[in-house]
């Protein structure tokens, strides 16, 4: 072969590959967050300051000073400072404005979900076969604090959302009490880079949300304090750079947010989470009590065995709305080996032996296991999609998430109460030789957490967005079904979970009916 022919062939190959690589494109830019166009709010809920708060005892429990008069020199100086900041904007600032938009509830929920995923990893075994636990007093000592499992994340989402809601109700009260006009109306003609509204500007709702979220999430994820402060600073800068606020709006909002967060964190400090991951002697006595009562017990099937299940005392935690856990506890599950049990077991075996691609996809779609946002997080994402779809203002957005997350956390507490009361063994334990496509978690079966969380979330969303009822109900059913396809729950686990979740949510929805928003 002559060297010309060889060069020709080589060039052809290289050309072919270059074309192929170009067609494939440079590394696809995959979305790292959900992009949305800043939007005009459907309404302003001017009477939002009269709505009933969840936890705060009075609307002015946190005091903020009255703002300076719009005609004062002090205010004019501030307006000039805002205009100067806008004039010196960088392209990074423009990106930040686009990212935060004018409803920061969306982004803070996303930030909370990402932290949930980041910390959702279970401690590995030590060399001697024991397990260590995260230590809240020493969070940076491995295993890092927290282990963001579903009871933990549902709590984090709930406290953040409730604090956001209560703080924004107070903010709306102060906005209309003080009546500082929206900045776009100012005669100084401040350039607006986000959609304007007639919401009075003091205090800044964006600053309230930033402060609340930062404070709550810094306690829930203590190793992320610096990151959260940086995010909060960026969010507050955007409030000025977008032309929506002057500095005193932001300072007042931050102060109000801090105050409300502090009150909610006091509740969190004594809500029982501290004792939920009980020591072995207590965990063993719970297990023995169930064995005496029912003749069965759940045992962790991992190797090495985990000596304590996940939060056996989660059922003792403070609920938001359910006052009597026994009233929502599901009935006794079927005895192992009974006809009803065998029917459910046969179904699982049949599915495992003949699983279709469709069933596998459903199992994976709702799995929300380690290193993900957990089932509560999955529903938070679905809820945020609705906030955007219906163009909710930040106050109504916070309301939606507060009620949903309260119901979801309550559902988790009640579900876990049932799980450890009945202490029912999982399919991999009770059905000899059974294997599935999902890993079995470290807690008993009956009832399914996915089903409880999902039914509760769906009930609240269906109440707030009645048009979406058929969709959310279908999703909750699918989430419940997914655990059967995964081989980690019996059908009666999922059915009872759906019923329990729906019952639990009713307590929350009853509060929503009378809070003055509708």
């Amino acid at each position: 072969m002559t060297s010309n022919k060889y060069l020709y062939k080589l060039s052809f190959i290289i050309l072919l590959f270059s074309i192929v690589f170009f067609i494939q494109g440079c590394e696809k830019d995959l979305p790292r967050y959900v992009a949305f166009e800043p939007y005009i709010f459907t309404n302003l809920d001017e009477d939002g300051g009269t709505w009933k708060q969840i936890h705060m005892s009075s609307i002015e429990q946190i005091i903020i000073e009255a703002p300076t008069d719009p005609t004062s020199d002090a205010y004019k100086t501030e307006v000039a400072a805002t205009k100067a900041a806008i004039a010196n904007m960088t392209s990074d600032d423009e990106e930040a404005i686009k990212y935060w938009g004018n409803n920061p509830i969306v982004r803070w929920n996303e930030i909370a979900r990402e932290l949930a995923a980041k910390y959702n990893l279970i401690p590995p075994p030590n060399a001697d076969g024991t397990y260590s636990s995260p230590d809240p007093a020493n969070p940076s000592k491995f295993p890092y604090f927290p282990f963001a499992h579903p009871p933990y994340t549902s709590r984090a989402y709930a406290y953040m959302s409730v604090a956001q809601f209560d703080a924004l109700i107070a903010a709306w009260h102060y906005k209309y009490k003080f009546g500082r006009p929206a900045l776009y109306k100012n005669e100084g003609a401040v350039k607006q880079l986000l959609p304007t509204s007639d919401l009075p500007s003091y205090p800044s709702d964006g600053a309230v949300i930033a402060a609340v979220s930062r404070e709550i999430l810094s306690v829930m994820f203590p190793l992320e304090k610096e990151y959260l402060t940086a995010k909060s600073d960026e969010a507050k800068d955007v409030l000025i750079l977008s032309g929506l606020h002057v500095q005193s709006d932001v300072v007042a909002g931050d102060s109000l947010g801090r105050g409300v967060a502090k009150a909610l964190l006091e509740r969190a400090g004594s809500d029982g989470m501290k004792f939920a991951q009980s020591p072995k002697p207590i965990s063993d006595s719970i297990k023995n009590a169930a064995f005496v009562r029912f003749g069965w017990q759940w045992t962790n099937q991992e190797s090495p065995v985990r000596p304590v299940g996940l939060t056996p005392l989660c059922g003792n935690m403070k609920t938001w709305s359910v006052d009597d856990l026994e009233a929502v506890r599901p009935p006794v599950p079927p005895a192992i080996g009974s006809a009803e049990f065998n029917k459910a077991a046969d179904e699982l075996i049949n599915i495992a032996d003949n699983i279709t691609t469709e069933q596998r996809k459903i199992a994976n779609w709702w799995s929300d296991g380690f290193n993900t946002t957990t089932p509560p997080g999955h529903w938070n994402k679905l809820a945020v999609d609705y906030l955007l779809k219906y163009r909710y203002n930040p106050l109504r957005s916070a309301r939606t998430l507060a009620y949903m997350n309260m119901a979801v956390q309550d559902a988790g507490i009640c579900c876990w109460e049932a799980k450890y009361y009945y202490h029912y063994p999982r399919p991999i334990e009770a059905i000899p030789g059974f294997k599935g496509i999902l890993g079995t978690p470290n807690f008993p079966a009956y009832t399914s957490g996915h089903s409880s969380f999902s039914a509760a979330a769906a009930a609240v969303l269906a109440h707030i967005f009645p048009v979406e009822k058929s969709f959310v109900d279908a999703w909750a059913l699918e989430a419940a079904e997914s655990r059967i396809y995964g081989g980690i729950h019996y059908r009666f686990d999922s059915e009872a979970g759906l019923v329990q979740g729906t019952k639990v949510a009713e307590y929350t929805i009853n509060k929503a009916r009378v809070d003055g928003a509708d």
């Binding site: 080589l10 590394e27 995959l30 979305p31 790292r32 990402e114 990893l121 401690p123 491995f142 495992a352």
Partner: protein, 325 residues
């Protein structure tokens, strides 16, 4: 997957394209990446089929590991125990001309763990096709030097779930590869071969629309890191070329990707790196011309986000002329 051209070497003076075949080595490359990266490893050997010559091969491979690298941490997992991956690999290689060969392969893979309660997976994996060119050859009294380039493409043929590590059958992605091979063979039959390949991967689809890989991703699409693959092999022929013996060293390095976090499962987005040694034996029995029996062994020395695999393989190849030249 991989494919290989297989040819019984002859030292005939009339044969200009004397080269030895490393089907197993090639094959072993694939299997080195226990975590489903049994993907398009382009034929990395230095053999060509003659015009109209066809080779059929069937290789079985048993790959086991009881330790894996969680990032850079080597560990075991008693909820997996021993992870076994069995592969049946049929391949065809055809000489379009003595300088241009086409190779196709389609493995069937099955995985299972010896412990724990999760099911393994099984099914057809990826179809691969390669085009191999003999670019240049220089022959002297003392020996010969030859260079080749192989272009390859592979894609999954069954809807297996790639996001099911460590059981998944493969990475579930398309791969385009380009490999350069250089071979020096001494007149005694001893040879030294080196090759380098660029493996360009695209994306795979997960069955969830949120995943975490050093941060959040709101999509079902996972980017699979592209990688380089390099090998160095030393071999020779014994007993009047009835037996071929070779030892090699292979490294594969991903250009990007995240590490498996503590006590987490692997994810197709991971940076999978591997370095291994292998040995191969090939025997041409005189009873049937064109038949060869192959056997191989491979051991992973170091890795990242992969299992520490030990691989045994064996099989048969049979080559013949499709039409008289």
């Amino acid at each position: 997957m991989i494919s290989n051209s297989l040819i019984k070497p002859t030292y005939s003076q009339q044969n200009h394209y004397l080269v030895k075949n490393q089907i197993l080595l090639l094959f072993l490359f694939i299997t080195l990446f226990e975590i489903n990266d049994i993907k398009a490893q382009t034929p990395s050997d230095a053999l060509m089929m003659k015009k109209s010559e066809l080779c059929i091969a069937l290789i079985y491979q048993n790959d086991t590991w009881d330790e894996y690298w969680e990032g850079t941490l080597l560990r075991d997992n008693q909820n997996i125990g021993v992870l076994t991956r069995n592969t049946a690999l049929p391949m065809l290689a055809y000489g379009v001309s003595s300088k241009f060969n086409v190779i196709v392969a389609l493995p069937y893979v099955s995985t299972e763990a010896s412990r724990g309660q999760m099911v393994g997976a099984s099914g057809l994996q990826d179809f691969s096709i390669f085009a191999k060119y003999l670019l240049y050859e220089l022959k002297k009294e003392s020996g010969s030097l030859s260079t080749f380039v192989t272009a390859g493409f592979s894609l999954p043929v069954s809807p297996y779930l790639s996001d099911y590590l460590p059981f998944s059958l493969g990475l579930g992605t398309q791969e385009f590869s380009l490999r350069g091979i250089i071979n020096y063979e001494h007149k005694s039959g001893v040879y030294l071969r080196g090759s380098y390949a660029y493996l360009h991967r695209t994306t795979t689809e997960a069955e969830r629309n949120y995943y975490y890989a050093d941060g959040s991703f709101y999509t079902t699409t996972m980017d699979i890191p592209s990688a380089s693959n390099a090998e160095l092999a030393l071999g020779g022929w014994l007993f009047k070329k009835a037996i071929q013996l070779e030892v090699g060293y292979v490294t594969q390095t991903s250009f990007s990707g995240d590490d498996i976090r503590r006590q987490n499962t692997g994810q197709p987005t991971n940076k999978m790196d591997i370095a291994s040694i292998n040995g191969r034996l090939r025997y041409f029995p005189s009873i049937l011309k064109g038949l060869s029996i192959v056997a191989g062994y491979s051991d992973v020395l170091s890795g990242r986000n992969v299992g520490k695999s030990t691989i045994f393989s064996g099989g048969l190849t049979y080559q013949f002329m499709l039409k008289k030249s």
